[in-house]
Point group: C2
Chain length 209, copies 2
DNA sequence: CTTTTTGCACTGACTGGTCAGTGTAAAAAT
DNA sequence: ATTTTTACACTGACCAGTCAGTGCAAAAAG
């Protein structure tokens, strides 16, 4: 057999179709929400027939779940990378946090629709993909929590901070600021936005430095 | 005019029905999203007939829009109140910011479902109530921006801060931290959460106390 | 070489159910 | 007397998921 090996070693036809469906689904769902987006729309935007969607995914919500997993996987990898690179370069934990803020901004800059969709679905309850979302959220937040904990252990951060809440707040800060940036002042540069958040992160807002 | 029968303070029967419908709609839509929530469900949860929904609101989306306006109105009032009270008591602008953080937390503590729903809809595009949402968002964020600007003018905050971005980031910080609190550690007290955010706000995370 | 078979990826008309919104007549509340 | 609510049957658009069938290329058979 070995049928698919006739084509290029990398991407099968199926793989390419799935990718097109992901891309179509992510923007439509970000704009309209999951329930308001029809499978017909997704198929049309992807340039395939409706049947193809069901040939590649068991259902509309399975498509969505795999989309979520895929996207948050990218984000988590990017955050880890940022933290590790800072560590390798001998940077402090604040530097690591700062690098992660930037990594987050880069991610959102690249995948704004995914970010939108993620935020919109994260705190919903009673939805089929709720558990998937929780797992996947925890992976991302855990990276930030890890850096905070190491910082506390190393005496760089006050041991009175609440790691879990602070991590959530930091994530929220970046998320909301970035979505605002993309929605309302898209002409601003990433460096600009990064600088504003750095200032806030390092407490250089009050007190004139 | 039929003002003869109007009670001052105005709890007509109609008003009460509307309120019941708001309350039913807000939790259902927070859980499931707008499109996945049916008018029949809303009516049932509110304990009224379906016809009553349409007697009181022109359509499902009009009901939702008025819900949004109503909710954000409450939040904005609460933030303003916090800022003004601090000013009257002769507090600094950091104190005002801190009071607003607390007001935000109190609001979210009281109306978690509304907050959920608001976050989920805020960055959507192409939706009927998009413009309503923008107006209403700006009102709330403007309160924070106002305090920041006054702080800069008074020399309390660095004049290098980006008011708009910083305001968005602060709102995001509180929003996400609070939703996390409600979703994952609801047993924590409001004071606890407030303390964690205050620390972050005042840059007392890095550097020993 | 040629014909036939097999398996994969995809197609799009169709089905059965769902749901926003309507119409109406009668009851309840003010 | 008027406003508000109820109960319930109904409509028509819309949509997730299905299924019989198409196109194609590689292998197997002749």
């Amino acid at each position: 057999m070995e049928s698919s090996s006739a084509r290029s070693g990398g991407s099968t036809r199926r793989e390419a179709t799935r990718q097109k469906l992901y891309e179509a689904a992510v923007t439509l769902i970000a704009e309209q929400g999951f329930s308001a987006t029809t499978v017909d729309e997704i198929a049309e935007r992807a340039g395939v027939a409706k049947g193809t969607v069901y040939y590649n995914f068991a259902s509309k919500s399975v498509l969505f779940e795999e989309l979520l997993r895929h996207g948050v996987g990218l984000l988590t990898a990017s955050l880890k990378e940022a933290a590790e690179q800072t560590a390798r370069a001998g940077g402090s934990k604040v530097d690591a946090l700062d690098a992660m803020v930037r990594a987050g901004l880069v991610f959102i800059d690249r995948y704004p629709a995914f970010t939108q969709l993620y935020v919109a679905e994260l705190w919903r309850t009673n939805r089929a993909w709720q558990s998937t979302l929780m797992v996947v959220r925890q992976e991302a937040v855990a990276v930030v929590e890890g850096v905070l904990r190491e910082g506390v252990a190393a005496g760089e951060f006050s041991d009175e901070i609440d790691v879990q809440l602070t991590a959530a707040a930091l994530v929220g800060m970046v998320l909301v600021a970035a979505l605002d940036w993309k929605s309302f002042q898209p002409e601003r540069s990433l460096d600009d936005v990064h600088a504003a958040l750095s200032r806030l992160l390092q407490g250089r807002v009050s007190g004139r430095v």
